[in-house]
Amino acid sequence: MKNRGYAVYLIPGIVASTAVIIVPLVMTVYISFTKWTGIGSPRWVGLENYTRLFADANFWASFGHIILLIIAMAVVPTFVGLVLAALLFDYVAKRFSDRWASALRSGYYLPQVLPVAVTGIIWGWILHPGYGALNRILESAGLGSLAHNWLGDPEYALYSVMAVMIWFQLGYPIVMFMSGLQRIDPELYEAADLDGASWWQRFRKITVAMIRPELYVVLVTTTIASLKIFGQIFVLTRGGPSNATLVPSYFAYKNFFEKAQVGYGSAISTVLTVLIVVLAVVFLRLQNRAERS
């Protein structure tokens, strides 16, 4: 069959992607080498923004915070989600019923369907020092000494955000892993059972081994999501107090739209982009190698 005549269908996609993705991307990289307030014409300054960036304590702090957020958004949900998915699939669904398993799965997934801004409002209220639910609950339980200004105290703010993010992210790996587990031949488990394998042995040797593709996908997508985090930070803390929850995307946003330092903001987002692309490439390589072996 001749394959000519299909290329014309790519034209709308190419035109649209050029206008919305390629041109802005190139512009941002260019602007990152200039000094620009957004008005008038940009002035070329070479690497000045980048040298300033690498000497900026806030820049390093914002990437330091990202490492903790990767733990909260990627590492913890992936591993807890793995155990939960295995329990739901291999224990609840078999010993009780499929309906129990899928009801629990939907419940765990619920936070994921809410708009991030709404997630932020819910937790912003619960954690509010004055009228928030958590402190009121602690006080009425006689644990008033545990009450804190969860989001307003630089010492606790980032940990509070981490807790919220674990709550928010947990459902995604569970759903992904459970769908992956359905590929597993039930006879594998039966055979392992007959050989006297413990639950833990079956979990390690069968479950984890079989859903390795999903494991990679979840780790990549959640890690990238934590690098990009913006909405929750904007609604919960706006990067504060005193930059304790500053993240790169909010740092860039502040420079673009609050400080009118467009060149500097562009340098931040360019570094963030390079980091994300490198990370994705490394992960894809690892995944390919794992699949081949």
Partner: protein, 293 residues
Amino acid sequence: MTVTATRAPERRTEEKPTLRERRPGRFLILAGLLVLLLLMVAPLLVVAVNAVKSPADYAAGGPLSLPDHLYWRGIVDFWNRVDFGLKLWNSFITSLVVAVLGVILSVFNAYALGIGRVRGRIWFLVFFLVANLLPQEVLVYPLYYLSKQLGLYDSLFSIIIIFTVVQSAFGTYLLTSVYTEFPKELLEAAAIDGAGRWRALWRVVVPVSRPTLAVLFTFFFIWTWNEFFLPLIFLISNDNQTVPVALGVLQGDRMMDATTTSASALIGIIPAMVFFLIFQRTLTRGIAAGAIK
């Protein structure tokens, strides 16, 4: 596994639990999972309970007491104050148009790449994958600047155009892998009947891949509905705001109290829950599909 091949797994339902597994201890695990479920949905329940409480009731009984009577004023006042009906409409129309256009654009791209196997298709796929990974921060300032130049700033059009392209990057990536395995016989039969490329696309390819397209539509709709960063920057006037933006920017408002905040959170949760219930099946099927390439 491809998107279309997601039928339920064959599992034996007749298996009888062996004696060893009938210990009452097995309920401990289920109980643990139920406690976790309660923790996951507790914030939403607390929001719902307090959204229908009067401020005096909240002050007296705290966040965990049941309302002494249903108090709708908080919700009604908040609804009117932010003109919530209009925000719902803005969100709905934006998400719907993006979902429709995004699916069409993805189909065109994937038709050329997956079925047409246009030369350089791997590079196109890499391009679309990268476009999907890019953080929006790296595109935002040029998009903001260009949309101002074109007179598209602060209009739903700008958001629709941008998200159609951003979402279709993912759609193209996913759909191409489905179309690569599209049955050739169907296309050959259509060609023998005298159908050209255009008719083959609409009469054969689109109807056959309808389940996958439904998954994409659902994803695009919900993702666009939940978007926060770009709408926050592009939709600045009150008449154009979407639901997350309207709620998110009010969060810093000092006039809010506990019951108003939970009322605002509740009306942000409800549409998301409605979509979740409507789309639940497509969503879980789609999440599985997104994982495996």
